[in-house]
Each structure stands twice: as structure tokens, then as C-alpha cells.
């Protein structure tokens, strides 16, 4: 099992979600995040004063995936979240030792 973490542009959430659901990957946790990579920030102007805002709003997706589906899930996320411009985000995976479904106590792949 792997945990896929994806940082994407907020307006790309629906496309990513729909693409994963269509492929049968049905669970995810979504949180609002802020940060920056190479894109750095943008400029905002209030009463003539310019502010460099370098923490931009992002969406963080966390998805538990069974081993055989990891590569296809990664590909789907990257394809759906891509706009081709700087600031599209990143996706990475981490190994997961154990998963338990709270309601039933099921473990491992059955709990995903």
C-alpha cells in the first residue's frame, strides 16, 4: 500500500477527483493548504501599496492506494492537474505499514 500525496492548484480539484473516481479509486482526503515552489508568489495591491504574497493557496490530496494501482493513479493525477504553467504542483508517494477501517476493523487492502 502507498499513500499518494498531491499538491495541486485548487481549481483542478474537480478534474482530478473525477478522473480518479472514473478509474475506480473512490476515497480521498482533501485539505486546503498554502505554500510555494519555484513559482514563488504574486503581487497584490491595496491602496497603492504592493505586497509580495509568496504563500499561495493550494489543495492537498491524500489518497491510499493498493500497490497495483499506484502507477495508474499517479498518471491520472498528473494528467488531470496539468495546465502546463508554473505552479501546477507535485505528487509523491510514501509507503504505508498498515490501514484499518474504523467501522469494521478490516485491515490492509480490504480497508482501502
Amino acid at each position: 500500500m502507498k499513500l499518494i500525496t498531491a499538491i495541486i492548484k485548487p481549481f483542478k480539484l474537480d478534474e482530478v477527483k473525477d478522473a480518479l473516481q472514473a478509474a475506480g479509486i473512490t476515497g480521498m482526503t482533501v485539505s486546503e493548504a498554502s505554500g510555494f515552489g519555484r513559482q514563488m508568489g504574486h503581487t497584490e495591491v491595496y491602496r497603492g501599496t504592493e505586497y509580495e504574497v509568496n504563500l499561495l493557496p493550494k489543495i492537498r490530496l491524500e489518497i491510499l492506494v493498493d500497490e497495483p494501482n499506484v502507477e495508474s493513479a499517479l498518471a491520472l493525477i498528473v494528467k488531470a492537474a496539468n495546465t502546463g504553467s508554473i505552479g501546477d504542483g507535485k505528487v509523491w508517494t510514501t509507503p504505508v505499514d498498515q490501514v484499518v477501517r474504523v467501522r469494521t476493523g478490516e485491515r490492509g487492502a480490504a480497508a482501502i
Binding site: 491595496y46 497603492g48 509580495e52
Partner: protein
């Protein structure tokens, strides 16, 4: 002397106007509150509500007498403080002032005092002890607003026999408070910003408005309330009130356009904060002039005010004073623009209407006198309070946020997952 009788039309309009001016307090609180960071929102709003509560109580005790009592020694400086002590002889259902109940006139004018004090709070966002602010509010209303309002608003033989020097001797035109309210509050805001010093991180840390919808809602409420402020200053339901109302809209719309144009050219974007600021700049500038100009004059005043106020907001960074929400750029500059421009575009009296320069000179003297008195007196009051009580919260309290430090409250609880125990240290009533 003809017998004075109550006019029901006048009374009805002044009852409504008083309600409208009351609406300006929450309007200002939201206008200012939206502009500060989320950690200071409640304190910003509390400074307006606190000023209203305290100043109106003082108004009933001695304020009304200081403004509208007979001028002490006929010098036009200050009214007789004991003439209407606790509104003696006026707080009944039969006493009249002009053609309306004295009670209505007193309520209407008392709110002017409250809103003027509240305006000052914009220059000291995020960092003033609430208690120190309240002491300042009471002292400033008594020592600065009441005398200046006497100079400007107390006409001879209206409430009392003798009134103030600007209204009667100098003859400067200030219909609803360009000098007494806006130059007065603007100069005080500058002085107080100097006394308190800059916020931690001023000019370095982004201090962005936390909610522009609140700012726009506040500006809109101020606009509506201002109809009572300006058209109500006719103290009658008549053509003067009607003209004041029309000019109030005309100047404000012109100011919005002017402010946005400056932004578009200077910054590349017309912003919502600019539109809301333009609203207030236009309202401020037309305040003294709303019954002295025609609609074209109002458009000129609004456009010039919108432009100059928009250009003035950068001055605080240039000169290094932290007038946090631009009380100087909007109220001092806007007040001066409106007061002085009467000397140019005032019908019959203005330079462009064949009136020569007499009125212009009077307008400049009136504006300068109020500016100088307010600035110096506020420096003294502010410094005194700072020496005795300390005006500022601590560095750490300021960084954590004044709402928690001073009021033990938070403006928004977005996620309801941090409830603690309701009874753990409650000193008040049970839930």
C-alpha cells in the same frame, strides 16, 4: 419675535436623520474592521462602539452645553458648561430648538460628536489599549470636539444667544462638519499615530485587509447614513435638505470614479478597496459644501477629493507615520479639499461664481484653525495618556493579536472543534 411652533415635517425628517447617523457607527466599524487583519477585527469595531457609548453619555452631561450653550465671555471659543447641565430644561416633550423638539436636535448633534471620535480610531489600528482609547475618547471629545463644534456649529440666536467664532465672526461655510468633524478627526488621527508609533512590522510585513466585502458593506452603510448627516444638517425638511442629499450622491460617485482612475493609471488595477475608499473620500469632501454648491460643483469637489485622497495614501510610507487605515489621507485631505473648494465653487460666494476671494480666505482660515488646534491638543492629550497609563499593548500581545490580548475574544470560529470547557473558569452567568 414670531412665535416658534413645531413643524411635523421637519421633526419627521430629523427623527429619520438621527437614525441614519446612528447607522454610521456600525458602518464605520465594518469599514475599518474589514481593513485590518483578522486578529484585530473586534478591537477595531469596539473602538467605534466604545466611542459612541462614552461620548454620548458625556454629551448629555456637559457636551451639549459646551457646544450650544451661550459663548463664555462672548468670545466664541466655548459654550457655558453649566447652562444645560444634564440637558436641564430641554429633556422634555415640549421644548423646541428651531422647529423641532429639542430632544431630537440634541440626539442628532450628539451622534456627530460620537462619530468624529470614532473616525480617529482608524489611525491606531492593532495596537492601542482599549482602556487608554476610552480615556482618550472622553478627553478628546471634551477638550477638542466640543470647543471646535462650538466654533463651527453654534450659530447666534439658534440654541443660545451667542455662538462660535467660525460660524458667526469668520463666516466660514461648513454645513455638516468638514472642519469640525473631518479635519478635526484627521488632524487628531495624525497626532495619535505619531504618539503611538508604528505597528510591529510596519512597511515590511504585509498588512492586508482581511475582508473586502466588509469594507464595501461598511462604506455602503456610511453612504446611506451620510444622507442623515448631510441632509439632516438642514435641521428642516426643505429644499436645502434636498440639495444636500443630491450633492452628497453626486460628489460621492465622482470621487469613486476619480479614485479608481488614479489606481488604474498608477497601479494597473481598479480595486474594490479603492471604490470603497472613494465613497468615503467623496462623502467627506462634500460634507461642508453640500448646501453651498450646485450639482456641477459637487462633481468637481468629489472628483478632486477622490484624486487627491488616492494620491495621499502613500504619504505615510514616505514620511514614516503609521496612520494605519488612512484617516489622514481620507478625512484630513478630504475635509480640506471640501472646505477650501467652497471658496472656488460655492454658489454666489465662490471665486468662480463672482464672489471674489473673501470666502476663500475665510474657508482657509477656518480649516487651518481647526487643523492646528486639533493637532496640538491631540498631541498633548495623547502624550499625557501614554505617560500615565501607557497607550500601547506589549510587543508580544500585538503579534498574537489585540482581540485575544485585550478582549479575550476571537472574531471568527471557522472550525468548531476547539471548544474547551464552558464552565472551566467562568466568572459570569451559567450557560
Amino acid at each position: 419675535m414670531e412665535e416658534v411652533v413645531l413643524n411635523t415635517g421637519d421633526t419627521a425628517w430629523m427623527l429619520i436623520s438621527t437614525g441614519l447617523v446612528t447607522l454610521m457607527i456600525p458602518g464605520l466599524a465594518l469599514f475599518y474592521g474589514g481593513m485590518v487583519r483578522v486578529k484585530s477585527l473586534l478591537n477595531m469595531m469596539m473602538m467605534s462602539f466604545g466611542a459612541l457609548a462614552l461620548v454620548f453619555v458625556i454629551w448629555i452631561a456637559v457636551g451639549f452645553s459646551l457646544v450650544f450653550g451661550n459663548s463664555v465671555g462672548d468670545r466664541g471659543i466655548i459654550g457655558n458648561a453649566t447652562q444645560f447641565l444634564f440637558l436641564e430644561g430641554l429633556d422634555n416633550s415640549t421644548a423646541l430648538i428651531g422647529t423641532i423638539p429639542a430632544a431630537v436636535f440634541i440626539a442628532f448633534q450628539g451622534l456627530f460628536a460620537a462619530i468624529t471620535v470614532a473616525l480617529i480610531s482608524g489611525s491606531i489600528a492593532d495596537r492601542a489599549k482599549f482602556g487608554a482609547w476610552m480615556i482618550f475618547a472622553g478627553a478628546w471629545a471634551t477638550l477638542v470636539y466640543f470647543p471646535v463644534a462650538h466654533w463651527v456649529f453654534a450659530f447666534d440666536d439658534f440654541v443660545a444667544k451667542t455662538g462660535g467664532w467660525i460660524a458667526n465672526d469668520l463666516g466660514a461655510i461648513d454645513f455638516a462638519g468638514g472642519t469640525a468633524v473631518h479635519i478635526n478627526a484627521g488632524a487628531a488621527g495624525l497626532a495619535l499615530a505619531l504618539i503611538l508609533g508604528k505597528r510591529v512590522g510596519f512597511g515590511r510585513v504585509p498588512m492586508r485587509p482581511h475582508s473586502l466585502p466588509l469594507v464595501m458593506l461598511g462604506a455602503a452603510l456610511l453612504w446611506v447614513g451620510w444622507f442623515g448627516f448631510n441632509a439632516g444638517s438642514a435641521v428642516a425638511s426643505n429644499g436645502t435638505a434636498g440639495l444636500a442629499l443630491l450633492n452628497t450622491i453626486a460628489a460621492t460617485t465622482a470621487a469613486v470614479l476619480a479614485w479608481l482612475l488614479v489606481e488604474k493609471i498608477r497601479d494597473g488595477h481598479a480595486t474594490s478597496l479603492g471604490a470603497a475608499s472613494g465613497v468615503v473620500a467623496g462623502l467627506v469632501a462634500i460634507t461642508p459644501a453640500c448646501a453651498a454648491v450646485n450639482a456641477s460643483g459637487a462633481l468637481v469637489i468629489g472628483a478632486i477629493a477622490g484624486m487627491l485622497c488616492a494620491l495621499s495614501v502613500g504619504l505615510k510610507f514616505k514620511f514614516g507615520y503609521d496612520d494605519s487605515l488612512d484617516v489622514v489621507a481620507v478625512h484630513l485631505v478630504g475635509g480640506i479639499v471640501g472646505t477650501v473648494l467652497i471658496g472656488f465653487v460655492g454658489e454666489e460666494v465662490g471665486l468662480f461664481y463672482g464672489g471674489g476671494t473673501d470666502q476663500l480666505v475665510s474657508q482657509i482660515i477656518g480649516a487651518a484653525a481647526v487643523l492646528a488646534y486639533s493637532f496640538v491638543a491631540t498631541l498633548i492629550i495623547g502624550k499625557t495618556i501614554d505617560l500615565i497609563f501607557g497607550f500601547r499593548i506589549t510587543h508580544d500581545e500585538e503579534l498574537e493579536g489585540i482581540d485575544i490580548a485585550v478582549h479575550a475574544e476571537r472574531a471568527y470560529e471557522i472550525f468548531d472543534n476547539n471548544q474547551g470547557s464552558a464552565f472551566s473558569s467562568s466568572k459570569g452567568g451559567q450557560l
